[in-house]
């Protein structure tokens, strides 16, 4: 387990620079001028190396600056990039052992049309500094790891699984590990060489790569799994991949009555549905802080919907001028009723009084 990396953050110096009498943003500005990794207002990371993994996948080796608190294998990190003045955030899994601490690696596949993944591929190079947010995620190793494991992944879902694997082997895990990975073609095997190397050095690890272009065996099915790993139901299994793949896998485990042996994480960009018939949609609005959900009727503003449900959001003019009702939208799609602009990005600021939900929305207010 990695210890918190930055002790000054919690020490007297960390408290001092955040004292109400200290102008923290100003102090941070001057520190950032000396070294951008010393920011007091956000955590930064320097890109140390960029490595091509496959024709459409790259690894970014990063070194985090002050404020970074380490991570656990299988978790993901928020990566912030600014594209034409606008900041976007995506979360990417670590693909390295957790002992890496403040030097870590993420492995990013180009998503067709994906704003951030393509930007990372096209613009980020060694020496650049990017902003990161803390590691999070529950797809981590169990407290007690049993003697037989199955790692099952597909596509770029291999990254958190590789992180689990590296961490286990580095920690001297001596149980038996079966690793089954599905890829589109042999050209799409992310981290292939690195994992083969691991298997050579660790006789307790056996890896099987299956490619969709090699026919039937390249598709996941109950029959194929039981043939490959006859005792799969007895193995603690870590599963990660695209949604369709996960559905099938979960069903297989369910039918064999081994669901409690399955740990999993959905992967890939969330599908966003905009039903644009001009009238809006009835939507559920989740309130992250209150841990509550309310319903927003089609066409009503989020402010009205929240008030209807007995919430008391801050507001002022109610016509989109004063910004008093601005709040953070964690996820979901909203439409600005004055300008028609659509906000579909996660982690954006919206005005409640002139926004209507176009999908399920999560707010932070």
């Amino acid at each position: 387990m990695s210890a918190p990396m930055n002790t000054t953050e919690h020490g007297w110096l960390g408290r001092l620079v955040r004292h109400p009498l200290v102008d923290t943003p100003a102090l941070s500005f001057y520190l950032e001028e000396i070294n951008p990794l010393w920011s007091l207002t956000e955590t930064r990371a320097r890109v140390e190396r960029v490595v091509d993994e496959t024709h459409d996948t790259r690894s970014f080796h990063l070194k985090a600056g002050r404020g970074w608190n380490g991570f656990r294998a299988g978790q993901h990190v928020g990566i912030h990039v600014e594209i034409d003045g606008v900041r976007y955030q995506r979360r990417y899994s670590f693909s390295c052992a957790e002992s890496a601490g403040n030097r870590f690696r993420i492995t990013v596949k180009r998503v067709p049309g994906g704003r951030v993944s393509n930007w990372l591929h096209d613009h980020v190079k060694a020496g650049d500094v990017i902003t990161v947010s803390p590691a999070s995620g529950d797809f981590v190793l169990d407290q007690e790891v049993p003697k037989k494991l199955l790692l099952l992944s597909a596509g770029s879902g291999i990254t958190p699984v590789a992180s689990l694997l590296h961490t286990l082997l580095e920690g001297g895990y001596d149980g038996n590990i079966r690793f089954v990975h599905y890829a589109r073609t042999s050209r799409d095997l992310i981290l292939g060489d690195e994992l083969r190397e691991l298997a050579r050095n660790h006789p307790n690890l056996e890896i099987t790569n299956l490619c969709a272009d090699e026919g039937e065996q390249g598709q996941i099915s109950a029959g194929a799994i039981s043939k490959l790993v006859p005792d799969f139901g007895e193995r603690l299994t870590y599963l990660c991949g695209p949604a369709g793949f996960m559905e099938i896998a979960r069903e297989i485990w369910q039918k064999s009555g081994s669901s409690d042996h399955l740990r999993f994480e959905y992967f890939g960009s969330p599908t966003v549905r905009i039903e644009n018939d001009g009238n809006g949609v009835d939507a559920t609005v989740r309130l992250a802080k209150q841990q509550a959900s309310v319903n927003a009727a089609a066409g009503s503003t989020l402010l009205e919907a929240l008030e209807e449900a007995g919430q008391e959001p801050k507001y002022g003019c109610r016509i989109g001028i004063c910004q008093s009702c601005r709040c953070r939208k964690n996820s979901g799609v909203v439409r600005n009723l004055v300008t028609g602009e659509v906000s579909a990005e996660p982690q954006q600021e919206i005005q409640l009084c002139i926004s209507a939900a176009e999908s399920e929305v999560e707010l932070e207010f």
Partner: protein, 361 residues
């Protein structure tokens, strides 16, 4: 006198569409250059502040002291006007950069940002120039239009105006505390003030600590030089912002509104009120920047959440629309506008004339 003609409903709707279009064009074009612009201003402001603070460490020296005061004044003016005021309007919220977030930004002013967001962004920008609703219409101490009540105390309002100018940031700081409620026969208990005013009190202490204790102490033997320099810089910033802001809605030609006539406004009506209640002034680019682009008060009031440096390119389009709809576009040199403001302050310190607007029964 305001020279705008009255528009019929169709014209108001058409004007609204045209102004929405001016806004939409800029919104579609927002990007890197706006991000670079505001960060460059912040950089200039930070280095100006640093240089000013360092220069003042050398005490009452005939070269470094005035230079230090000048650079610190520039930094404080830039921070309050082009950065703080504009960021808090949400002009850079589209960037989603937490440092430029309208709701969390805290400015270099004894007033809290939260109080400012309420009195300025909400009250003043929503109810601009509506009698009885827009407190910025004379700030309760200056009679700026004949519709406001005259009392013998009004005779001294030129003095109040100058005092307000010198202490402007303190005026901003206490506006939302509504101190009037704690005086007179039906006063509220002071305990309520100490509760409501706690954040304001903390902010004042923080500002006083910074300018009148921390940096003077850092200067060691030159304690007094730094203290005096900081005091002068604060007053320079106060007078500057006061003069700029008084030229926003008080020059000749800017009109006021009653609550009745604004009861059922469309966005078009709202645009018209912002237009006819505001005044621009001309000047060099540096002057626009140091005014926080409040030199384009008209554009600012129509589009408060558009990055202010864009008002310069929006102004000719707005002016063209005004011409076609027979609307006054009040602009003149700064000295001219400021002189007409003083003309009003002096004239209305005396009783009369008859109000032009119908008085509520």
């Amino acid at each position: 006198m305001n020279t705008s003609r009255t528009l019929n409903r169709d014209e108001v709707a058409a004007l609204q569409a045209e102004l929405d279009q001016v806004r939409a064009e800029v919104v579609a074009d927002l990007g890197d250059k706006d991000a670079r612009y505001i960060r460059r201003v912040i950089r200039v402001q930070r280095y100006s502040a640093l240089a000013g603070r360092i220069a003042l460490f050398f005490g009452f020296n005939p070269i470094t002291w005035p230079l230090g005061v000048f650079m610190l004044s520039v930094a404080k003016i830039l921070e309050n006007m082009e950065i703080g005021h504009n960021v808090m309007h949400g002009q850079y919220d589209w960037m989603h950069d937490p440092k430029l977030n309208s709701q969390t930004y805290e400015w270099d002013n004894v007033g809290t940002s939260d109080d400012w967001r309420h009195t300025h962004n909400y009250k003043h920008h929503t109810y601009t120039n509506i009698l009885g609703k827009d407190e910025d219409l004379g700030y309760d101490v200056i009679r700026i239009t004949p519709e406001q009540r005259w009392t013998p105390a009004t005779l001294f309002q030129p003095l109040y105006a100058l005092t307000l100018g010198t202490l402007f940031q303190w005026g901003v700081a206490i506006q939302n505390l509504r101190l009037g409620r704690y005086f007179g026969k039906r006063r509220k208990p002071l305990s309520e003030l100490s509760e409501r005013g706690a954040p304001a009190g903390r902010k004042m202490l923080r500002q006083l600590f910074k300018d009148y204790l921390f940096f003077p102490l850092l200067s060691g033997p030159n304690f007094l030089g730094t203290l005096a320099g900081n005091l002068v810089a604060n007053v320079v910033r106060n007078l500057w912002t006061w003069a700029i802001i008084f030229c926003g809605h008080f020059p000749a030609g800017a009109r006021v509104y009653t609550q009745q006539e604004t009861a059922n406004e469309t966005r078009g009506d709202w645009y018209l009120r912002q237009l006819n209640g505001s005044a621009n002034f001309s000047g060099a680019t540096w002057f626009h920047i140091m005014s926080g682009h409040l030199s384009h008060q008209i554009e600012h009031h129509m589009f408060p959440d558009i990055p202010a440096h864009r008002y310069r390119e929006m102004a000719p389009k707005v002016q063209d629309i005004c011409e076609r709809y027979g609307q006054q576009y009040n602009t003149a040199s700064f000295p001219h506008q400021f002189a007409t403001v003083w003309g009003k302050i002096l004239r209305y310190s005396l009783p009369g004339p008859e109000p032009r607007l119908p008085q509520p029964a």
